[in-house]
Symmetry: C2
Subunit: 305 residues, 2 copies
């Protein structure tokens, strides 16, 4: 692969209303595909696939384009863009959903533009596993498929999800989802269970603690960056997955080492994401910022300096 | 310092009644000084200081001695040994105290044997901060004082604890205690606050996640070992602190690097501790076991293998 390749990212594009301890922020540009594409675009060109309503401003489409995110795959449907309203706890460690308006997202059936069907690296954001499967059916020769999902699909659509897992290279989920998907509390045992069901690698996101990579032989551990000012955890997991796939697109060969290296960049991007409301901090980072933070992350585990 | 030095460890010696998801275990040999001394004895000779009742069997005193733990400092008082009964949650992530019988521990006033007053490395286990201070008053020239404490003393004895912090080199506490001691939720800011109050280093234990070392310049991060079989978390934090001080006693010079190296050994010892009920697994490990696990811990963070 060369850095001229696009990565393909499919998922939600949304407006979020965020009730944070620091204030209420409405109409915040969000959605999994948004966060992931912005993070990936730090490294790579992106084909984004999603749906927006007729309320979605041209200016935001232009914001994608300015970052090398090709918006051909964004369908504009009559009606309103997906909207989520949530309230975070005082310590930002938990949140509740106050309102979910799927709007145009309820009829979403992803169509991959002709130009994107040869993309070797695919990130299937958290949508119905049947739709994730439909994306795969439209691809010519995907080299690596990275998949996110959530508790709702694990509980409600186990058959469709199991079929998708067979086609998954890297599954990126959180601790709770790992336990629900496997039915096993212990993470090591849970990971072994999941790795028998298709994925070659499992990445478990543990928020402010770390991320773990499990494959058949090894476990790899990336520390989370200890931040002084966390403003908004929304989208951090998506920024992680997007950062990972974007970094991998720059590698001539994807190996165990490049995946580990990518997890450092992914973690750095996730750490920037939570420092601003919505995508604001993620949009503002420079290459220097990213390299500096990634180096600091690596220094966290150095015994000898 | 040479490896001929003893480390001095002061704290509780107890019998625990443990209600675990796997069964009820009664009269389990425990207490902070017990776990810490056993872990430290892997590396170093130990002077243990604590109190037991007349019910405490000679066989356990001999178990200490067989490991190079000098028991001169164990006072045998009329009455019963400290006893704690606790029940762990199904996932072992939380526990409740069912019964605490301080017994002879309620009158404990630590007397440091003459032979131990020159020990350069001191671990003050979690007891009343006034008693911790009394230990320090009996020492000739302590080189490094490592201190543990708990929420109860943070809330009830802030003045005595603040005085002790001024004499503390390394404070080893958990996340919750860090937040309570500083009154600050964010760990980075909390650490900065605590490091202004005396300790040169703060180590935050995060259980199954990691341990963090904060000093004036840097943050260091040691992953926890991802275990398949966790049986009993009791004493893991004490095994960590004991392993750390024991390792430091083998170093000719204590530097930032040796402290970091020591945290790896400490984490490895804590990981063994939780694999058995009480001290059973900790007592059984070989040097090979320890080196193998410490190496595996270090491999967890290796990008290139």
């Amino acid at each position: 692969m060369s850095s001229n390749n696009h990565v393909l990212i499919v998922g939600s594009i949304a407006f979020d209303d965020l009730e944070m301890p620091t204030g209420i922020y409405e109409n915040v540009w969000g959605g999994a595909a948004t966060y992931a594409s912005i993070a990936a675009s730090v490294f790579s060109k992106v084909h984004i696939v999603g749906v927006v309503g007729d309320d979605f401003p041209i200016s935001l489409l232009n914001s994608f384009k300015e970052r090398g995110i090709d918006t051909q795959g964004i369908e504009r449907a009559p009606g309103k863009t997906f909207r989520w309203r949530g309230r975070y706890s005082h310590d930002l460690l938990s949140r509740i959903t106050l309102e979910t308006h799927l709007n145009v997202f309820s009829q979403f059936s992803p169509t991959i533009p002709e130009s994107a069907r040869h993309d070797p690296l695919i990130l299937l954001g958290n949508i119905h596993p049947r739709l994730q499967q439909e994306v795969l059916n439209q691809l010519i020769a995907p080299h690596m498929v990275i998949v996110d999902t959530m508790n709702f699909w694990i509980a409600q659509e186990p058959t469709a999800l199991n079929r998708l897992l067979e086609k998954t290279d890297v599954l990126v989920i959180n601790e709770e989802e790992t336990r629900e998907l496997s039915g096993i509390h212990n993470l090591v045992k849970a990971a072994k269970n999941i790795l028998k069901r298709g994925p070659k690698q499992l990445i478990i996101k543990r928020g402010e603690h770390s991320a773990l990579l499990f494959d058949q032989e090894d476990i790899f551990f990336v520390p989370a960056y200890p931040l002084e000012d966390v403003l908004d955890p929304t989208g951090a997991g998506d920024a992680f997955a997007g950062g990972l796939i974007g970094y991998l697109a720059t590698c001539t060969d994807i190996s165990s080492s490049t995946l580990r290296e990518g997890m450092y960049y992914a973690t750095a991007l996730a750490s920037f994401c939570v420092e601003g409301i919505g995508t604001e901090r993620l949009l503002a980072i420079s290459t220097n910022n990213l390299i500096e933070r990634t180096n600091k992350l690596k220094e966290l585990v150095l015994v000898h300096r």
